[in-house]
Amino acid sequence: MMGAPGCQYCEPRLRALLDDALAEAEARAVRDHVRDCPLCQATLAEVAQVMSLVGASPAEVEPPPHFEAGLQVRLAALRGRRRRLGLPRLSLGPAQPRWSRRYSLAGVMIAGTVMALVLGAPPRIGAQDLVGKVQASWARLQSYSCRFVAEGMVGGQPRRFEQQQWFRRPNLFRLETNEHYRETTFVEADRVTTYIPGADWQGKRIAIVRPRRAREEGLPFPFGAEWPAAYDITMDALVRALQAQQGGEMLGTEEVLGKTCYVLKFRTERPGGRLPKHYLVWVDQESFLPLKVKSYIDRGHQSVSVAVDLQTNGTVPSDTFHFAPPHGTFVVYGEVEPFVFTMPWDQPRTRAFETDPAGMARREMRRRARYLTFRPLAPAHLPPGYGLVRVRRAKRDGWLDAYWVNNQTGAVIKLLQQPSDRVPPLAVEDGEAARLRDGPAMWCRWREIHQPRSIQYVTWIQDGMRLGLAAAGVDRDEALRIAASVAAVEDADV
């Protein structure tokens, strides 16, 4: 190349630079230019941000239940035909794995780490044996506590996360963070309680109780991270990864936190032609538990997690995992997130929030209407004792929600609305069909749970909006009454 390349040459290559898809000489030339060019630096940052934003969207979408049934019906006709005609028999050529090219980039990264290792005496244990011992140790583990520290890149952005963790088998967790404000989460068998001592709700601390879901993301030992679960490295996931591992290789030994550890390198394949995930795991020679894990997919998705001060099978007091609200704590329950209560409020809270919660919700929606392209809907009827907490909207028309709380019982009612053309239609998993009102008939889907306390869920379509009501502290009839009273907010000029 004659002379140093300029913006015209480099700018179209910025994306490929971040994707590590340029030849070395090309990449070097572009990097050299970017170093001295504020314009290309700004473009590079913008490209990286877009990549991060797009990458944060999940690739997988589970189809609705009827999809499988519909597909089986279509396949049944083909299968019948196939049986009648006999199966075509072809001999496959040998499979041509294409992993080698993909590994080159990760190989550079892993090799760099390997070079940095201080290799102790060659380990007298093979990779498979080590995996077996880790699995056995995990199965024997009854409890642990540690300070978990994770750093790395998620979606191209640097992240750091620190959390105190306690665990007791079979399924109890306590997690404490101070990332934005102090927050303690108690994960019990049937419920999750988030306690925010620094919150101030009418002079009280806040604790929020919700049902424990069948699938709780981000539960650690001790390598979970409160990051998108695609990069989660829970112990269970790590054990599964070890079981499915390919190319496992013992690299040597290294000290981590004063303990001699075996270092194991392995990778796991990911379906759908995705880049494989590469791991380095440091396993304590005494306990055969992982103390450190390094994972790598590509430059924008890598992390190092360390369990500091790991204590296992010690005595963890039973009250560690059960939340007993301190005096002066307001315990709420329902479908609500802590910051609904902790967000700063730009309006003074008046008595009308308690005495006229429906009217105040309409007023708050009217205030936001000029930012919306849909006419908001609000309930005319609410059960007694519920005051308005707040109304929120997404800045660009995505959704609007409102929360009311019973200041005696802590029960929360939530109403969420979104334009119905942007969301999937109501499905059977939303609940059983129920009539909301007669003449003209309006139907909804209803379901309820009773864990830890009763919450009614009603979902329906009205005036081009998909509405979802989650009402704690009321019965089915009352929830349907609230939903049936929902109507367009007058004078909400959009």
Partner: protein, 181 residues
């Protein structure tokens, strides 16, 4: 069991092997079809993909990985459908459950809103640009894999990714702000 092993089983008469392949790849193919053609079309089109795969699998030789081959079918199915349909795919949202904690619930709400905006911006891209950005940034494919799936040279993948990214940057520039407090 690997995809290749399931394919071999299917090719020798094991119908359940195909069902296992569907279960394994269903969510990703459905997600891809949602992004390329819209949620409203996804049910039928995703089924079309698997039906086409079922019909062609007996003669599948393993020249590419099964997943890559399936992606190729999905791209062609969506492309064919959109060419016939006109106009472009609708703006949409998707049914992906958001059960992931992000440490800060406020950040999670902001993330949800922003994801909706990002998806809308992606939907406005022409199909050729949309396909490469979805395959690269959402599905994690390499340039070589994308070239194999969409059937174009790697250089074309590179330039399409560049243009797709720049267009998204233009759409998204005013949107990267906090959810209203």
């Amino acid at each position: 069991m690997t995809d290749e092993a399931l394919v071999r089983r299917f090719q020798t008469g094991d119908e359940a092997a195909f069902d296992a392949l569907v279960e394994r790849h269903r969510a990703r193919i459905y997600g891809l079809v949602c992004r390329l053609a819209g949620v409203g079309e996804a049910d039928d089109l995703a089924q079309d993909v698997f039906v086409a795969a079922y019909k062609s699998l007996p003669s599948f030789r393993g020249d590419a990985a099964f997943g890559t081959w399936l992606y190729r079918i999905a791209i062609h199915t969506c492309s064919h459908h959109l060419r016939r349909r006109r106009p472009e795919a609708l703006e949409l949202d998707e049914a992906a459950p958001d059960g992931r904690r992000d440490g800060d619930p406020e950040a999670r709400a902001m993330q949800r809103e922003l994801q909706g905006v990002v998806r809308g911006a992606i939907d406005r891209l022409p199909l050729k640009l949309r396909a490469v950005i979805v395959l690269r940034d959402m599905h994690g494919m390499s340039y070589e894999e994308i070239a194999g799936v969409v059937g174009c040279p790697i250089g074309t993948v590179r330039s399409r990714l560049y243009y797709a990214t720049r267009r998204l940057a233009t759409h998204l520039r005013p949107y990267v702000e906090a959810v209203e407090r």
